[in-house]
């Protein structure tokens, strides 16, 4: 606005009108600028009826890997629905799956390879041709081998279960590097199974046939391994009340899972395990345990004499000694009658399956806590039974050819990996960063990032910044310029899932092996190459051991070759409707098998058309699915743990601290990070549909928020909707205050992974205090205390 006249006296009329006019024009201009997106009345693409195509595929947005059906018109993907034939999802989808069309056409997605020209992170790039990028990368890798340092190549991958994982492993093995770190959503449940069953594998939960689903913090309806599996189990089993599993959610907050489960048991943070053992106490006291099962298959229940002849307390003694109902009630905040009621329900409404969420295991004593939860399944003998905890097989895919090795490869593979795993864990990204950042000369010279954005997703961004600065060549395959990708030297953007071939095996939580096929629903308008295809081409270009180990023209060919294993296995079937699937299952139960296709080509065609393969049969009689420990028994006090730990802990793993250091005055509130169902781990901005309404309650849009009990907020003088800083000793971030009566009085519920509309991350995980579970190396997510400050 032009300044108003300042001369004393009166304002000339002309002057006045001019000023006013100028002001109006200025205002008009300012106003028109705040139209955020270009206003276009008519929609672009022609509205004439186009050529329509519907294809089945697999959603790769989250680990659930549901069946989807894409609808393309004239080569544009206009909608994603469910695939009725997919055994896990049965035609259903979740909001993220449907919103994947918005990611596909995201305005910021990259289509051509970029080579950094300015300083790192300065945002100056030069476009490369796909071939140019391939040559550039191949040359650098050749140099590593020429220098005799193949182990200086490292790959950090996000969730890529299935053949992409196999390809990366094969590629690195043939190249000669042991440095593969895959963040395959470690939640510690595999460690629990390894410790107690000797089966280092994530458990499956037969939710659909359970009578009671007792979830300890597992966000079944939000961010579980497969929300769709939980939805189907919750919602589908017909009208008969009897077959309807009852869902009970033990949770620290009134999550959507808690709200929609049949019952919600509110517990204090870090006390899930105590409640589990409190239930065990009642079961033992009232002799509602499966004594027969315990006697035949379980060790460590009763006291026993060890090698040195001292009496060691068994699970029963430990529980009876420490988990009297009153004490449990006092610790967890759950009333005594409720605890007894829960135990009754577990006993009466069986099969009762206790599901352990990563939230239980993301704690300093996460592994034993998870064991405590799982011990309920053991007490009720609900292992390997319908409606219980199962250990299912992987789909019998044809293996990749054995990796060809030469002397240099062998030398490289013999070197110790940069990131060593914890005793019961897997190598993880944080360790990798710490090792790289620790020395001046980085042990990693070329770092490939696949589906990984550690600068944003790691709980320790600073270490990752330091680590990246030490690595001479950082390559990202992300189709988006996320935080880490912007710091890369070379970006070779992947195609998006709707444009590429990949496979999507169902997560372990689902009791039957499922192999979903993701296939292009549309062709990428900009050309481009999927990372899978690129790696195969890179292998061919490198030749030698690598070329020989990955002899596939493209990913589709690789998938087809692997599908041969399914065809030859003489079990399972291409996806079919509910009737067909049940029929096949009944046949297989009786030892029969129905061939679905006359030859492999027809089989492959059926797989692609129907979306994948499933074996709907589970062998409950197989003893190897119970325990593979030394004594073939399930160990309630695992020997392996005794070897790892020592002292009191080893004798009694079931003791928990709940008195986390609350730096009382400075940081009075416990941070309770959680993941929403609309967030797909991805740290890319949410699809607008989801950002607009990320949660069904409370009313929020776009802005990252924290939930605080209204009384707590009022005591702090923070109104609903105020912007606040969430501050811990480690850092702070900006969020909007939401009063929420479903939050405990002394916690801050903080959804993570959200971004502000301008793209800045609001990441509660970067506030974490850095505690970990020494056994699994999982970060502790609920021991951090914060305070709120008005922004």
């Amino acid at each position: 606005m032009p300044p108003l006249a300042h001369e004393p006296g009166h304002l000339g009329r002309r002057r006045f009108i001019l000023t006013l006019g100028g002001g109006l024009a200025g205002l008009a201009l300012a106003e028109s600028c705040d139209v955020r997106w270009p206003a276009d009345e008519a929609a672009g693409p022609g509205w004439a009826p186009g050529l329509e195509e519907r294809l089945n595929s697999t959603c790769l947005v989250c680990p659930s890997r549901c069946g989807i059906r894409g609808r393309a018109v004239d080569g544009r993907l206009v909608g994603i629905g469910g695939n009725q034939l997919h055994p896990l999802s049965r035609g259903g989808i979740c909001p993220r799956g449907a919103a994947a069309v918005q990611t596909l056409y995201h305005p910021e997605r990259l289509r051509t390879p970029l080579l950094r020209v300015g300083a790192r992170g300065a945002g100056r790039w030069r476009s490369l041709t796909p071939n140019g990028a391939l040559t550039f990368l191949a040359d650098r890798l050749q140099q590593l081998r020429a220098a005799g340092r193949p182990e200086a190549l490292a790959v950090l991958a996000g969730y890529c279960a299935g053949s992409m994982d196999a390809v990366w492993r094969q590629f690195l093995r043939a190249f000669g590097s042991p440095n593969y770190v895959a963040d395959a959503y470690p939640d510690g449940t595999d460690a629990i199974m390894a410790a107690m069953h000797g089966i280092p594998q994530r458990p499956s939960y037969d939710l659909e046939r359970a009578g009671l689903v007792l979830s300890f913090g597992a966000p079944l309806f939000e961010a579980w391994w497969s929300p769709l599996q939980a939805y189907v189990a919750f919602g589908r089993p017909g009208e008969e009340r009897e077959r309807h599993p009852r869902f009970i959610q033990v949770d620290t907050r009134f999550s959507r899972t808690a709200a929609r489960a049949h019952e919600w048991v509110a517990v204090r943070p870090r006390t899930h395990a105590i409640l589990a053992l409190g239930i065990a106490y009642v079961l033992i006291k009232e002799e509602r345990i499966d004594a027969d099962f315990l006697a035949r298959h379980v060790a460590g229940f009763d006291d026993w004499l060890d090698d040195r002849g001292t009496l060691q307390p068994g699970y029963r003694s430990l529980v009876l000694r420490h988990y009297r109902t009153e004490e449990v009630s006092a610790a967890t905040g759950v009333p005594i009658e409720r605890i007894v009621g829960l135990a009754k329900m577990v006993a009466d409404r069986g099969p009762a399956v206790a599901v352990c969420g990563a939230d239980v295991t993301q704690a300093p004593d996460g592994l034993p806590a998870g064991m405590a939860v799982h011990s309920l399944n053991v007490l009720t003998g609900n292992i390997n039974r319908p409606g219980g905890v199962l250990f299912r097989d992987e789909p019998p895919l044809a293996a990749l050819p054995p990796a060809a090795l030469d002397a240099m490869t062998r030398r490289g593979l013999a070197r110790s990996p940069v990131a060593l795993p914890a005793p019961l864990g897997a190598p993880n990204a944080r360790r990798l960063a710490e090792e790289i950042a620790a020395t001046q000369a980085s042990p990693v010279e070329v770092l490939l990032l696949y589906y990984a954005n550690p600068l944003a997703s790691s709980s320790d961004g600073a270490t990752w910044t330091a680590a990246l600065s030490r690595v001479p060549l950082v390559v990202s395959f992300s189709p988006f310029l996320d935080e880490t990708t912007s710091q890369a030297d070379l970006v070779i953007p992947d195609l998006l899932p709707a444009e590429r071939w990949q496979d999507g095996p169902a997560p372990a939580s689902y009791p039957y092996p499922v192999w979903g096929i993701a296939r292009p629903l549309v062709t990428s308008p900009g050309g481009g190459r999927s990372t899978g295809d690129l790696i195969l081409a890179l292998a061919a270009r490198l030749g030698g051991t690598v070329g020989a180990s990955l002899p596939y023209v493209d990913f589709e060919a690789l998938l087809k070759a692997r599908a041969r294993g399914l065809y030859d296995a003489r079990r399972g079937m291409p996806f079919g409707d509910e009737f067909e699937t049940e029929h096949q299952q009944q046949m297989q139960e009786r030892g029969w098998w129905l061939a679905s296709a006359p030859d492999f080509e027809a089989f492959w065609t059926a797989l692609v058309e129907r979306g994948g393969w499933v074996d709907p049969f589970y062998d409950h009689t197989d003893p190897t699915r119970l325990a593979r420990t030394a004594g073939d028994r399930i160990e309630l006090i695992p020997q392996q743990l005794r070897r790892q730990a020592d002292g009191a802990e080893a004798r009694d793993p079931y003791r928990f601290r709940t008195d986390d250091d609350r730096t009382a005055d400075a940081f009075p509130l416990r941070l309770n990070p959680y993941r929403m169902s609309t967030l797909a781990s991805g740290t890319v901005g949410l699809a607008p549909w989801l950002a607009e309404r990320p949660t069904t309650f409370p009313e929020v849009h776009w802005i990252p928020w924290v939930e605080v009990h209204p009384m707590t907020a009022r005591e702090l003088g923070l109104g609903d909707g105020a912007m606040v800083w969430v501050v811990s000793i480690r850092g702070r971030y900006l969020a909007q205050m939401k009063h929420f009566a479903g939050a405990a009085r002394d916690v801050v519920n903080a959804p993570y992974g959200l971004r502000h509309p301008d793209g800045t991350l609001a990441n509660p995980l970067q506030l974490l205090d850095g505690a970990t579970d020494p056994l699994t190396d999982l970060a502790s997510w609920c021991t951090t205390f914060v305070r709120l400050e008005r922004a």
């Binding site: 009108i17 006013l20 109006l24 205002l27 008009a28 106003e31 028109s32 139209v35 206003a39 009313e699």
Partner: protein, 452 residues
């Protein structure tokens, strides 16, 4: 104005000279005020242009708060419009002699404000470009259409009702030749004030006065029905028709009072707007403040006593919730202040009535606000989140622009038309005294003839 015009003016009889003076003389104050008002109106127009260009998003409206300032203004202005025609018609029919100096200014308010009121719903439209659809696809079941019809009728009738009684005055101006001869010749339409013409005119005015009353009543009834025909809490009420009519007259009286005080001061019409006028109008205002209280009390008590949850949400929002401030201000402005001032003769003065009138106008605007907004933000569907409403600067500018535009036009009108009827004054002086004496005599038993 030219000296010639001044000379001609001076030659006129007393009433005409005084009442036509504003047509000839324009003070610098008038110009200054007009400039400021014009600027505000222009500002409002610019705001509307922005809204037109970008969409109703420029307002503070949202879901479920679909109606705001424009609809409030619509109801408010149409309410004010009951000032003139209706009141003047009632006074005319009831032969209230003190009306003579008041009717014209009141009728002008009606016609002008009606126009400004009628454009409010158009400003409020998402697609003003499709306005004609209202006729092309008219759906008579919709109360909005009833409104279009009754406002149309009312506008037509009021314009005629303003124009016809002005004919003799227009003829006077034409004959005096003080200003734009062709314009007044055209407007006066050959009226010569012959006794026959005068008689016919008075007959037509008499009929019009009767016709216009039901139309005016229908207008605000139908506006009340726009709300009452929905199922929204505290809108769905049978009292709304009469309540709106009563409120409209109330605000109309207040508007006339303000106009009287201002005109009296601005043009020195002290002899025309006399203490008695303010006294009588003040009594009317008093009557309506009581009526207002009665209606409001009945309305709120019914809602409160029935205690239907959906209604109670809105009820409490007004009485002690987020809308308590506008609600209690409304009660103060519509009831406490006018009652206190108008119940005593000592304050039924120009000053007192001005204060009361302004209070009532503000209060009645707030009443419309309190009807439209609290119900809008408290939807019946209990799952729907509560709305909120903060009018945007565009709405406030249009609001200001409308007020400014109306006042400006009214001011300009006083420059072209005598704002007090010359011939009615004259007629009053010549005929009424006798007529009233006869009429009063007619009320009484015949005087006994004195016995010898």
């Amino acid at each position: 104005m030219t000296d010639d015009a001044r000379l001609k003016l001076r030659a006129l009889p007393d009433d005409a000279r005084k009442l036509l003076a504003p047509l000839v003389e324009t003070t610098w104050r008038f110009r200054a005020a007009a400039t400021v008002l014009g600027a505000i109106a222009l500002w409002g127009l610019t705001a509307y242009y922005l809204q037109l260009r970008f969409g109703l998003g420029r307002t503070g409206l949202n879901q479920p708060e679909y109606w705001g300032i424009y609809i409030i203004d619509f109801v408010f202005f149409i309410g004010i419009s009951h000032a003139g025609t209706l009141i003047s018609a009632i006074l005319r029919i009831s032969k209230a002699e003190w009306r003579r100096s008041i009717t014209r200014s009141a009728e002008f308010i009606t016609v002008l404000v009606l126009g400004f009121g009628a454009i409010q719903p158009i400003i409020d439209l998402g697609r003003p470009d499709r306005l004609l659809n209202v006729f092309l696809h008219a759906q008579l079941r919709s109360p909005l259409l009833w409104d279009v019809i009754s406002i149309g009728l009312y506008f037509g009738a009021s314009t005629i009702y303003l124009y016809l009684p002005m004919l003799p005055d227009l003829a006077i101006i034409r004959d005096a030749g003080i200003k734009a001869p062709r314009f007044y010749r055209f407007l006066a339409a050959g009226y010569r004030d012959t006794p026959a013409q005068r008689a016919r005119l008075e007959r037509v005015i008499g009929v019009l006065a009767i016709v216009v009353i039901p139309i005016a009543v229908s207008v605000h009834t139908v506006i009340g029905w726009i709300f009452a025909m929905t199922l929204r809490p505290m809108w769905h009420s049978t009292i709304f028709g009469p309540y709106f009519v009563m409120g409209a007259i109330y605000s109309g009286i207040a508007a006339i009072l303000i106009a009287m005080v201002v005109l009296r001061r601005a043009y020195g019409f002290h002899e025309y707007f006399r203490a008695v006028h303010f006294d009588y109008m003040g009594r009317l205002l008093l009557l309506f403040s009581l009526l207002w209280f009665y209606f409001t009390f009945a309305e709120y008590l019914t809602a409160f006593y029935g205690a239907e949850p959906a209604e109670m949400r809105t009820f409490w929002a007004k009485v002690r919730g987020p809308f308590a401030a506008p609600f209690w201000t409304m009660v103060t402005c519509c009831f406490v202040i006018p009652l206190a001032l108008m119940c005593r003769r000592a304050t039924r003065t120009p000053g007192g009535t001005l204060v009361a009138g302004v209070a009532v106008v503000i209060g009645m605007w707030l009443e419309r606000f309190n009807i439209v907004v609290p119900t809008s933000v408290n939807p019946r569907f209990e799952f729907e989140s509560l709305g909120h409403y903060l009018p945007s600067w565009v709405e406030l500018s249009i609001l200001a622009g409308t007020f400014a535009g109306f006042i400006l036009l009214y001011m300009v009108a006083t420059k072209f038309f005598p704002i007090i009827s010359i011939w009615e004054m004259r007629e009053g002086r010549e005929a009424s005294v006798r007529e009233v004496a006869e009429r009063v005599a007619g009320y009484l038993p015949p005087e006994p003839v004195a016995a010898d």
